[in-house]
Symmetry: C2
Subunit: 593 residues, 2 copies
């Protein structure tokens, strides 16, 4: 049975040693004293490791059950969700006005990592609610906010997002769900939506569906799509629940993983809906939710890698098999633990250096969001908008690979469900797909984000790396050679790829798009390389300042060195592929595949 132990110390390191949150001028950050954040993280750690983690395998084994239109969640989920609500964990970074605690996103994200690590399927119920609430917060009328947010912030009501239909996922312009104007400001929504996470369940009094639909008579395609609030139960003027709305669950999907989350086919049969935001501007409103969801999904990649890694370390230390070729490490035992073997270490270091780099990356992204939301920093917004597809695509691709590596360490025991390692890969697999498949993320990055605002944000990113390197060239020789030089080389590769796109994408956009996946990955590596270079510096500083826990900081440095030496050089391969252009990619007639 796998376990989860909250990485409080590592999160504190990122918040305080790396990001130095209390020194930031972002409103609210000055309050984030180490003792304060530690107290929050300790509490979240207790809840997630003791309550949510043990339910992870339960959710996988039992799955959700649909009976007479009611979806039953796995044993224990409902009680655990009550505990989560009571603890106020669902509104951590939501406005106080609606029952939240108004903390910065950076704290919300740190806590969210623990939730997702301990039980991804369970955490999706509140994650989607948070996203739906954010969309209402950004685009709703005051009445809508007052009507829905107080109950959504506390998760007494949960939320969903309804985009996909059987014949369209990415290409939402093809959607068929209709909205008919009723003259009283409301609409009748009719159509079918599929793959709706948390679409129906037994853990909340009401479910607030955000549904994309086309208003009859509106423009064709994506320009005719609007977003609607469709509650499961109508809400009376006094806030009490009224009659059941015309929305029902058609079936729940049998999936490869996240069995604890109910993935529903939702049928809308003249359901009453209310326009959220402007007519025909549904995609804009939905993207508020989607961007948040993408960052959350990137976090899922990291989180599943983290938990899988933790368990792989335990197993590698427990399982006795073979001998260290340089001399027995457990001479009195029948064999040495797996962890003595170089290839096991290679795999564990891959995992460890990814997870810790990704954690820093995600929390840095959260500070950019805070900078935008809390002090109107548009440059920060541009930067995080550029990096959103990287966080989503790179972290979920890599995170999935890491769960496979962790599973591999268990040998045959990794393949049987009894040991629980298969669940991490099966759960992590969806993160590469939903909220925009990773190919769509790469397309968004190369086809849209790179050139956004005249390429201003990607230039800002390059400057950021360049300046960091310049500011630190007078560090000791070893640091420069081990951290800065590899970062410089990788960043140069990334710039060369961008240059290739500029020079060759104009005459044939396929030259850029054929390299989009490679570009997303090399961008991700450079981001993690930057994070490691900075964390290496933070660790050096802590040691120089006489930190007592030298093993912790030295481990950070060693883990960083591993990433720089063994992972970051992947940028060169990605560049080679990109520079080979579109010719070999596009050569075949469709019929010849």
């Amino acid at each position: 049975m796998p376990s989860y132990s909250a990485p409080t110390k590592d999160l504190q390191f990122v918040l305080h040693d790396l990001l130095k949150v209390t020194a930031s001028d972002i409103p609210g950050y000055a309050d984030l004293e180490p003792d304060f954040t530690s107290a929050i993280l300790e509490e979240a750690g207790k809840l997630t490791s003791e309550v949510l983690a043990p339910l992870n395998t339960v959710g996988d084994h039992e799955g959700c059950r649909l009976e007479n239109g009611v979806v039953y969640t796995p044993t224990g989920f409902k009680e655990a969700f009550e505990q989560v609500k009571e603890g106020g964990w669902t509104g951590l970074d939501m406005p106080e006005q609606y029952g939240g605690q108004n903390m910065p996103q950076v704290i919300g994200s740190a806590v969210a990592e623990m939730f997702s690590s301990s039980n991804m399927a369970f955490t999706m119920y509140q994650g989607l609610t948070h996203g739906a609430a954010a969309a209402i917060l950004a685009h709703g009328t005051d009445l809508q906010k007052d009507t829905y947010l107080p109950n959504m912030v506390t998760c007494h009501w949960t939320g969903t997002m309804n985009l996909t239909e059987p014949h369209c996922g990415t290409d939402l312009g093809l959607m068929r769900t209709k909205a008919a104007q009723q003259g009283d400001g409301s609409y009748k929504i009719s159509g079918q939506k599929i793959f709706i996470s948390a679409g129906e369940h037994d853990m909340a009094d009401n479910i607030i569906h955000l549904v994309l639909a086309k208003i009859e008579g509106g423009p064709e395609g994506i320009k005719g799509v609007s977003l609607f609030i469709v509650p499961k139960f109508m809400v009376n003027e006094d806030g009490s629940l009224g009659e059941r709305n015309g929305v029902s669950v058609g079936s729940i999907e049998e999936k490869m993983g996240i069995h604890g989350n109910s993935t529903c086919v939702m049928n809308y049969d003249e359901a009453t809906g209310y326009l959220l935001g402007e007519e025909h501007k549904g995609m804009r409103a939905m993207f508020t939710m989607m961007n948040e969801a993408r960052l959350g999904v990137g976090m899922q990649g990291l989180s599943q890698a983290e938990t899988a890694y933790q368990n792989a370390v335990i197993y590698a230390n427990d399982r006795l098999q073979g001998r260290d070729v340089t001399g027995a490490k457990n001479p009195d035992g029948p064999a040495d633990p797996l962890i003595v073997h170089p290839d096991i270490r290679r795999s564990l270091m891959d995992q460890k250096s990814f997870v810790e780099g990704a954690r820093a990356f995600v929390l840095w992204g959260a500070t950019l969001i805070d900078a935008h939301h809390r002090k109107g920093d548009d440059d920060a917004d541009g930067l995080v908008s550029l990096m959103t597809p990287v966080i989503k695509g790179f972290l979920t691709d890599q995170g999935y690979d890491m769960t496979v590596k962790a599973q591999q360490i268990y040998g045959g025991h990794g393949y049987i469900e009894e040991w629980g390692m298969s669940q991490y890969t099966r759960d992590a697999r969806i993160a590469m797909i939903y909220e925009g498949a990773n190919g769509v993320q790469a397309l968004d990055l190369v086809g849209r984000k790179l050139a956004q605002d005249g390429g201003k944000h990607v230039m800002a990113f390059f400057d950021l790396v360049k300046n960091f390197i310049k500011e630190n060239t007078d560090q000791d020789e070893a640091y420069v050679a081990e951290f800065l030089d590899p970062l410089k080389a990788a960043s140069k590769d990334l710039q060369a790829a961008g240059m290739y796109f500029m020079q060759n994408g104009m005459k044939n956009p396929n030259n850029a798009l054929s390299g989009s996946n490679d570009f997303m990955h090399m961008f991700g590596h450079v981001c993690l390389g930057l994070m490691w270079a900075k964390m290496g510096l933070s660790a050096k500083e802590a040691l120089a300042n006489g930190a007592t826990d030298t093993a912790f900081y030295e481990t950070k440095l060693a883990t960083g060195r591993y990433y720089m030496a063994r992972q970051l050089p992947a940028t060169a391969l990605h560049l080679t592929r990109i520079q080979s252009g579109a010719d070999t990619v596009m050569a075949l007639e469709a019929a010849n595949f």
Copy 2:
């Protein structure tokens, strides 16, 4: 519902255009005329695509069921297995003396690909029987051969291999299963074995277990391990079945995939067993089976990638989503098919170029085995022994990744079980683990095979690549630039890695072992690069000779170009990692992970 279409034409291309089997002096090869091999492949194609493939999802959904000591295979398996037996497919490359057809392994392998592609879990029942029969053939007495082989070659009796115990998989020296000598030449075997594929089922009259155990009083550790034949039902002198032996199934495992195969815990309770081969030389005898099994598992990696790819192509052509950025390809439809998008093509070309390269690699390996078995070519044996861990490790790692890519093309539909794509990844996952986890393959390659016979075989491989390049430098410029130059560069990387191991592995073996996984992968890439360079040449020749199916050969060339441009350059990254040595890999204390 996924489908499978047998790649007869591609297999014929490898047999005749690439390997030119009829021109070979290997006994039996002259008979392999194109019409003859085509007839076999067509028949095998019919059986696998029409009978076995439709049972693949049935097997996954139903799984095996244990009731009162009897294991029931999924609906339809038993009838299909009868058809396979009746068709004589199980003894294709077995000696006529025991009911086989004495065909070369290269034909056996071509047919085995189809079987494994269409239904991996089903095919394991006969695959393990084949391996067990091969071990008896190589190490059994005449009486043992006469007693067991006729029924095993026809699969009226199936076979198993029993190595793993709960506390040991790789490190078999730790095993506890005991063999007590009975004075009549037989032994009483007692102990528990786990993860026994096809350990018990309802499709054969008898099951012949090959079981590793320690004879009481023998040497400690791996040197005291012997191999035993333990039949489920005792075999009377007249060949009829006698009483039930003391072997029984304890439970069947819940696994991530291959649900159609019964993976059993087997309990041996003073079961009667007969020594196979010599006392305490069990590992040698088992390795006859294991080496064959490893090649078969490598084939599984290829086979799951092949079927998943086939379905991904169908979906990419069917599913309308988005528009080609260079202009609509399906202007009258609501959208263009997925296959117009460069990133979808990038993924499909990754899959296609891997599958076709891997197919050539496996069949080339089979010709080396034939050269050894049929004309006593020890160099061929040395070469295939060197490449066995590469075929097993590289093809299953990559094959798994390809199933993930194929699944990704389906978007959300890839994640729900209804579409069947999840099964390919879940089934393919085991191939990275069993018959020696891939880390163990890499260790075998670097720690053992490289230096075997004074490094003679790896030198022979390098010579083979070098000579091929040298012999073809006068080909046209495009071919040299697109095929030979990349092959030369990759081969140089591989040699540099070998050199690094020699120079640094002596003073610290961890310098070699930390790079073992990278070395296995770069070796695999060079092998596939060599195959593609040769296939490119074959395609060029066919076109020059006026082949009418120009699209087929031009597609081969284009697919080869893709591999050389986008996949083969991975060797440089692997070399960088290898040359970074063991320091960053081994830096941490075990407690600091």
